[in-house]
């Protein structure tokens, strides 16, 4: 880490970081990196959590009964997940005395992360990614790869989950 810090400082360092998290292990690993950079360079951090609307699209499945309850259930689960992620990271960042803002968006993670970046003043996106190879790479939706294909102007740092 120290070597990296030295290298980035020698070139130039990011002035504002967007950290996108879904609270899963690979995101927690990326969180370490994001916090470390924010601390080293003393720059602001924005934490973004996208509430994935994926499950909602199935509500009008042809014979689905009880659609309202279904949507409410999904909303409630998403809200609980958001609360858990928020309280964890907010506690951690406040404890470290870092300046941050926590943002929540709703929709398709790919689109929402891109929208957040185009609407804000970020020059580095940090996010976690699964270790992918073979069948897993084929089966994965691979958000980091899709993001990097569509984000031409911002640097992206993909932190892979720990080798299991």
């Amino acid at each position: 880490m120290t070597e990296l810090r030295g290298y980035i400082e020698a070139v130039n360092h990011p002035s504002s970081i967007l950290f996108a998290t879904d609270g899963k292990p690979h995101s927690l690993r990326a969180e370490e990196w994001a916090i470390e950079m924010v601390r080293s360079f003393n720059i602001p951090l924005t934490v973004l959590h996208v509430k994935d609307a994926y499950l909602k699209q199935f509500y009008n499945e042809i014979y689905a009964q009880g659609r309202k309850e279904y949507l409410e259930h999904v909303d409630k689960e998403l809200m609980e997940a958001e609360e858990a992620i928020r309280s964890d990271i907010v506690q951690r960042l406040s404890h470290l005395g870092l300046s941050y803002s926590f943002r929540v968006r709703y929709g398709d993670p790919l689109d929402e992360i891109i929208a957040e970046i185009s609407g804000g003043d970020y020059d580095l996106l940090v996010l976690g990614g699964k270790r992918l190879s073979g069948m897993r790479a084929f089966r994965s939706w691979n958000l980091p790869a899709r993001l990097s294909a569509r984000l031409g102007t911002v640097s992206i740092m993909i932190v892979r989950e720990e080798d299991s």
Binding site: R67, K68, L71, D75, S101, R103, Y106
Partner: protein, 63 residues
């Protein structure tokens, strides 16, 4: 976290919940529409069976 952020989040939250309320019992609406559509077709078929038959069996096939 800024005040502004909180407000913005709350407003998106509200919009979302409103959307899920609006689809309230959309399954019943869908079912009633299905019955209405079939009723209308039954009516049209009773008025002029030949015209309906010709339209769906011949006119719609342009080749």
């Amino acid at each position: 976290m800024t005040e502004q952020d909180i407000k913005k989040n709350e407003s998106t939250e509200k919009v979302l919940q409103d959307t899920s309320k609006r689809v309230l019992s959309s399954e019943k609406r869908e079912d009633i529409w299905a019955i209405i559509i079939s009723g209308v077709i039954l009516l049209l078929c009773s008025i002029n069976p030949d015209a309906i038959y010709t339209f769906f069996k011949k006119t719609l096939f342009i080749f």
